[in-house]
């Protein structure tokens, strides 16, 4: 059984078919990328998985449970943590407090209205560990809004990791980064994904990034899956060639 399974997932906006009968799965420990040209439905698909928008048809299964009707914050509570396409942080809080608040979300006593020293201590422990994994310990006390763009992107990943997610969902992790920043970020992420302890689904249009990070690729075109497999197979697929890569490989 796959950890995350999409069955015939469809999203229609009026007459426009944004996501068309997508069936795919993510195995435990897999790093999978969803790619496709602009307007292929990547972001719509991402929204369906995170629960930000409701599916017109089809189901999302997580660990054998049907979560199609579960709200976004509920899915996060179950272990689906996400990062945004446009960096989304708490700009006036320190990087450390950002990861603390992220970790606190997984505590049963997260809403405790008094005291809470133990809750904060545990959140700080998890948050600091996540900062260290992303190499951000040296900027931990700085307000998140003042970090470099690259560090802000990594901080968002640290926040997701602080939640100890069962699946990490990333929406274009290198969006808006310069060439050097992208290279650095990809190095850090490649190191992070290397040991197979994380299950990752990322949506990305930068081919270099995808081929370095992902071990499985799903190709979307006009909302539908046109190819699925390891990077070599996908690269060689003629349908993918004509739809997207345009002779890249």
């Amino acid at each position: 059984m796959s950890l995350l399974e999409l069955n015939g997932l469809t999203k229609r906006y009026g007459g426009i078919l944004a996501v068309d009968q997508v069936t795919m799965s993510v195995e435990q420990g897999e790093v999978r990328a969803v790619i496709g040209p602009n307007g292929a439905g990547k972001t719509s698909l991402f929204h369906l998985i995170t629960g930000v928008v409701k599916a017109t048809e089809g189901t999302v299964m997580f660990d054998g449970q049907n979560i199609t009707g579960v709200a976004a914050f509920g899915r996060c509570q179950m272990g689906l943590s996400r990062t945004f396409q446009l960096t989304s942080l708490f700009p006036e809080m320190s990087a450390r407090d950002n990861t603390k608040l992220a970790a606190q979300a997984r505590d049963k006593q997260r809403w405790r209205p008094f005291g809470g020293g133990a809750v904060f201590a545990e959140a700080a422990r998890r948050g600091d560990a996540a900062l260290e994994r992303l190499g951000l310990t040296h900027v931990a006390e700085r307000p998140a809004g003042l970090l470099s763009h690259g560090d802000q992107r990594l901080l968002e990943v640290a926040m997701a990791l602080a939640q100890q997610p069962r699946v990490l969902l990333m929406d274009e992790p290198t969006q808006g980064l310069s060439v050097e920043e992208t290279a650095q970020a990809v190095d850090v992420l490649a190191g992070l994904f290397g040991d197979g302890s994380l299950t990752v689904l990322l949506v990305e249009h930068d081919m270099e990034v995808v081929f370095r990070l992902a071990r499985k690729i799903t190709v979307l075109h006009r909302g539908a899956v046109i190819a699925d497999g390891d990077p070599e197979t996908v690269k060689a697929d003629p349908a993918v060639q004509s739809a997207y890569l345009g002779g890249y490989a």
Binding site: F73, R82, S88, L101, A102, D107, W111, R112, G115
Partner: protein
Amino acid sequence: MRMMLAVAALLALMPLGLPPYAMTLLTEALIMGLFAMSLDLMVGYARLISFGHAAAYGLGAYTCGNILLHTDIPLPFAVLLSGLFSGVIAIGVAWVCTLATGVSFSMLTLAFGQLLYAVAFKWTSVTGASDGLAGIPRRPGPFGTTVFDTKNGFYYLTMACLFGGFLFARGLVRSPFGAVLRGIRENEAKTLSLGYNTRFYKIAVVAISYMFGGLAGALYAAFAGFANTELLFWLLSGQALIMVIVGGTGTLVGPILGAAFFLLVQQQLSSYTDSWALFFGVIFILFVLFAPEGILGLATRRRASVGTH
């Protein structure tokens, strides 16, 4: 903490030195301070701007008035019950208002306040319509004590409510719950995506805010001996927002100082001119332009700069 004990001791000694009319003003300032502080929980910590906080005040005042007029419940219990009642009503109000965000949220709070105002004019048997409720007594007890009936006794009751409310609110904003509120203030979408049901937190903080706002209104009804529709009018909601901003948002202490400052200026200016509000408007604008962090911010900034030289 030491600072707070010192302030408490100072306030507790006030009846020994101040003349009765000053004690009246000080009691009113503490009541208004509690009211402004309750609004700060929403405005300063969750960026939920309410234009209708008078609803909490009026609800508490009318509830307390009715309890004291029609039952034998002792004054302190009547006041606490009224605060709780406002808080419970606020859960329904907040459930509706949090369907919207930003300016729309503010407009809904205003609409609810004005709705109560209109109802108070029509529901004569409960509110006395435009005459209001007059002759609200301060019922004795518990245990037959009449101490809260005296001017100074009532002052101490008000002080206890203010400090109790402050300690509760401070504990709240420093708790895990408070950390989530700050998340909502800075980036609600992100807070939601981290797995927090942000609407639950917003409804809860509005209810707590109304509870203390209602407590303040209840104290006022017993303090003044009457309750009328002015306590539900939007003007009071606006004044409370001004007290919060002038005092310093997101500080709890600031709005209490802001309320005292507002009443003092009002009292001084109104003996010279009827258009005192015009002058206070100028003061408000100066604060917004040159000291957006409010009175408390000014005080701590001064202290910080003294400390470094």
